[in-house]
């Protein structure tokens, strides 16, 4: 079993891991010849199934195992991975490989980095001071003690900046194929409405505000409500509208977005004729027909943190059943692929 790769798009990788980490601390990673899949399945709340094409985050990718397609299944803690990626951000070069240390499997990240040792940031401090500091070190010729207070020249500090090699070992478990065999991406019926979400930062700001309001009102009306997270109601139609609603005992507030896009379905990707697709029926029924799901406010907030990936997000509503978000991650610093949106998709499922 071998896995070794250089890292690229570390920023994107890091944001993905951060987004996953807000939902669950341990992820299942499935690597094979073509794709990298990150899966998180929290006890409660939304799952993420993120499939990335290998070349989005990896370069010079080598994988080898006894399984078909050279598949390797790993279980890894996202916190340490995120931490390691943070250390790799801004590095000259970083690679990742599966190895063993003291008999324990490790995902070892080797980072070649420099330190930013500028003279400019000498004596950074919060307190506003500086200048006029006479008296302190006013007399450099003064003989004090045994020559211990030597003056340092700047060149001495700045000299010989070398590359440092940082090794970050992330503990992993290598999973047997039998272990993961039973874990399936949940099957959800064809969605009734699919719509491109407004900028997630905006949606998140408003959702969070609604959730906070709900928590405030429920805590004032008794402590019982605090244990249960507030539910938000999300609805969409096939006419470009998205509605976010909070209905509580004492208040009922709604935010509506209009003019959003309902992307066309690709008939070749469908298992049923497009005319029979539920979204067609919802379209025919007119703009007053909404597909609605209820989501946990806090969970929704965690899910919306995928927005940091700056991808295009399509929400698929199965009325009163499930909400699936597809996040399309753009290839950032691939100059050859001009503005190509990748097939990399992150699926977020709500129950």
């Amino acid at each position: 079993m071998r896995f070794k790769t250089d890292l690229r798009n570390i920023r994107t990788f890091s944001k993905l891991v951060a987004a996953l980490n807000s939902l669950e601390k341990i992820a299942w990673v499935r690597l094979d010849d073509d794709t990298v899949r990150f899966t998180v399945i929290p006890d409660t709340g939304s799952q993420v199934w993120a499939s990335l094409s290998v070349d989005l985050i990896f370069d010079s990718y080598h994988i080898q195992s006894a399984e078909p397609n050279n598949t390797i299944n790993l279980e890894l803690p996202l916190g340490p991975l995120q931490r390691a990626l943070k250390s790799a951000a801004g590095s000259n070069q970083a690679n990742l490989r599966l190895t063993k240390r003291d008999g324990i499997p490790m995902l070892s990240m080797t980072i070649h980095a420099m330190t930013k040792d500028g003279a400019a940031d000498a004596r950074e401090r919060g307190a506003p001071y500086g200048g006029g500091g006479h008296g302190y070190g006013a007399n450099p010729d003064d003989p004090f003690g045994e020559d211990i207070f030597q003056q340092e020249s700047l060149e001495l500090i700045m000299k010989r900046e070398r590359e440092k090699v940082i090794t970050q070992d992330i503990p992993v478990r290598v999973l047997h194929p039998d272990t993961v065999e039973t874990i399936m991406q949940p099957k959800v019926r064809e969605p009734d409405v699919h719509i491109q979400l407004p900028p997630l930062l905006q949606l998140k700001a408003i959702s969070d505000r609604f959730t906070k309001l709900a928590m405030t009102t429920s805590s004032s009306s008794g402590r019982g409500g605090a244990s249960q997270n507030p539910k938000l109601e999300l609805s969409a139609n096939m006419f470009g509208s998205l509605r976010l609603r909070l209905a509580a005992e004492s208040l009922d507030i709604t935010s509506v977005w209009d003019g959003l896009e309902n992307p066309e379905l690709d008939p070749s990707q469908l298992t049923i004729p497009i005319d029979e697709h539920p979204s067609t029926r919802f379209k025919q029924a007119g703009p007053d027909t909404w597909a609605t799901v209820r989501v946990d406010g806090k969970d929704w907030s965690r899910v919306l943190s995928v927005g940091r990936l700056e991808g295009r997000v399509i929400a698929c509503f199965a009325d009163d059943h499930a909400l699936i978000l597809y996040v399309y991650v753009p290839h950032h610093d691939d100059s050859s692929a001009e503005d190509v949106v990748t097939v990399s998709s992150i699926t977020v499922l709500f129950n």
């Binding site: 987004a19 931490r83 006013a138 207070f149 001495l156 440092k164 992993v172």
Partner: protein
């Protein structure tokens, strides 16, 4: 007056930094004044770290005058409470709500009075740019300072490197680590900084799962060429506490310049030092013993022993043995004076921070709420002001601010992030399913583990005996 000196604005800031650094190790500080220098020293509670700042009389101070008296002819010494000194030298302290330069300290005059018929007081007069003068009167306890011994001739291994480079390297170390192993490799011409922990994982956890709880293991290899004056025995592993090292570097990077390390062998003290104009900073740290180091290398069941043993290692206090006689007579003197002193103080300063004598007792009871330890990562949360702005506006600018993506329950998340990753140890055998999701809601877990946590007041969060096990650490 026994001693009088004046600090410039910058001098006040530097003194404050030094005290803030000491505060990470101990509650008390010993002040020692001589004709040509002022020395601040402290020893942490487990006696595994000793800190000494020396301020050159003629270079650090705008004015320095050591007078002495009949009792203190050549040197004056006393012990003070760090916290009270910190509040005196805190910048911007007389400014009220205005934060402009007006409120900045312009200078600070300090006088120490002691002697027969006089109150023993340290009087600090702080003059701010806005014309306000604040006077502080602090009581102190006469106490002979303890100096840790460090044998320079024995410490044959040494190196020096830019403190800021070293400080930046520490950024790569993740949370949950305790020990730093510094070792060299002559073949590859590198010095390795390796961080690891030997904390026993929570019992009962499935061994497989425990693997994932291990914190990030980080090694940083720095080419020897980047060091000055490297002379280290090949393959020598020297292990110190990460927390102490971080606290030192946090201060060192402000002073800037090179940090020099001298050490001999495992289980013997290591000295770290750096200096700037008129200030010499020295730290003597006890290193983890050799047998322990070996047991750490070859993972044994008694993983914790190294840490525990390390705690038992204490620095030699030269002063204590040499001057024990002096100490005793001194103590007798003190005994006579002290009770009255403590009383008058409480009257004079009802809200004084407690005498050094009390603070010693305090250390034995609940550990003081530590200053937030040096955070190597950027703040996980935005400052309060930023957060409130965010929640007050519905629409946020499309800035690339990662914080905005943090989930709503930030407090919860923060806890989870600051803590080392701890998985819920779920023992239910579910071989067919992945154990991805054994992490229960962190809040529930916290509540369950501390059911009888009192609701109000600052209660100790940990038994001191628990902390003592990791004797090397001062917290």
């Amino acid at each position: 007056m026994v001693l009088g000196f004046t600090l410039s604005e910058e001098g006040v800031a530097i003194l404050h930094d030094a005290l803030a650094c000491m505060f990470k190790f101990s509650d008390d500080v010993c002040l020692e004044a001589k004709k040509d220098k002022l020395i601040l020293t402290t020893l942490n509670i487990s006696k595994s770290a000793y800190i000494c700042f020396t301020f050159a009389a003629s270079r650090f101070f705008s004015r320095y005058h050591f007078e002495g008296n009949s009792q203190y002819r050549d040197r004056f010494f006393c012990q003070l409470y760090v916290r009270s000194l910190l509040s005196v030298f805190r910048a911007r302290q007389c400014g009220g709500e205005s934060t402009g330069r007006e409120s900045v300290i312009e200078r600070c005059e300090v006088a120490i009075e002691d002697g027969p018929g006089k109150k023993s007081r340290l009087i600090a007069r702080v003059t701010c740019r806005n014309g306000i003068t604040a006077s502080h009167s602090l009581a102190f306890e006469p106490k002979t300072p303890t100096h840790a011994k460090f044998d320079k001739t024995e410490a044959t291994n040494h190196w020096a490197i830019s403190s800021r480079t070293l400080r930046q390297l520490m950024d790569h170390f993740g949370p949950g680590i305790e020990l730093l192993d510094i070792n060299t490799d002559d073949d590859t011409r590198v010095v390795n900084f390796t961080c690891f922990t030997e904390k026993v994982q929570r019992r009962g956890a499935n061994s497989n799962e425990a693997v994932l709880k291990k914190p990030l293991h980080t090694n940083i290899a720095v080419e020897m060429d980047e060091f000055d004056d490297v002379q280290v025995e090949d393959k020598l592993h020297i292990i110190i506490s990460v927390k102490d090292f971080r606290a030192i570097l946090q201060h060192a990077q402000m002073i800037s310049g090179d940090l020099t390390a001298c050490y001999s062998s495992p289980g013997r003290p290591m000295k770290l030092s750096y200096n700037s104009d008129g200030v010499l900073c020295e730290f003597i740290l006890m290193t983890v013993g050799e047998e322990d180091a070996i047991s750490q290398k070859h993972k044994t069941g008694r993983a914790n022993s190294a840490v525990a043993n390390a705690g038992r290692q204490e620095l030699d206090s030269g002063a204590r043995r040499a001057s024990s006689v002096v100490n005793e007579s001194q103590a007798r003197n003190t005994q006579a004076k002290a009770p009255a002193k403590v009383q008058t103080k409480t009257q004079a300063q009802p809200q004084a921070q407690g005498s050094p004598r009390n603070s010693a007792a305090q250390q034995k009871t609940p550990p003081r709420p530590r200053q937030p330890g040096f955070d190597i990562r950027p703040q996980p949360n935005p400052p309060a002001s930023a957060r409130s702005t965010r929640s007050d506006s519905l629409f946020v600018g499309q800035v690339d601010d990662d914080q905005q993506w943090e989930p709503l329950d930030e407090e919860e998340e923060e806890e989870a992030q600051n803590d080392r990753l701890e998985w819920n140890s779920n023992n239910e055998p579910k071989p067919s399913t992945l154990r991805i999701s054994s992490y229960a809601n962190p809040t529930i877990q916290t509540n369950a583990s501390e059911p009888d946590q009192p609701m109000s007041g600052l209660e100790p969060t940990q038994r001191l005996s628990q902390v003592r096990r990791f004797g090397l650490f001062s917290s």
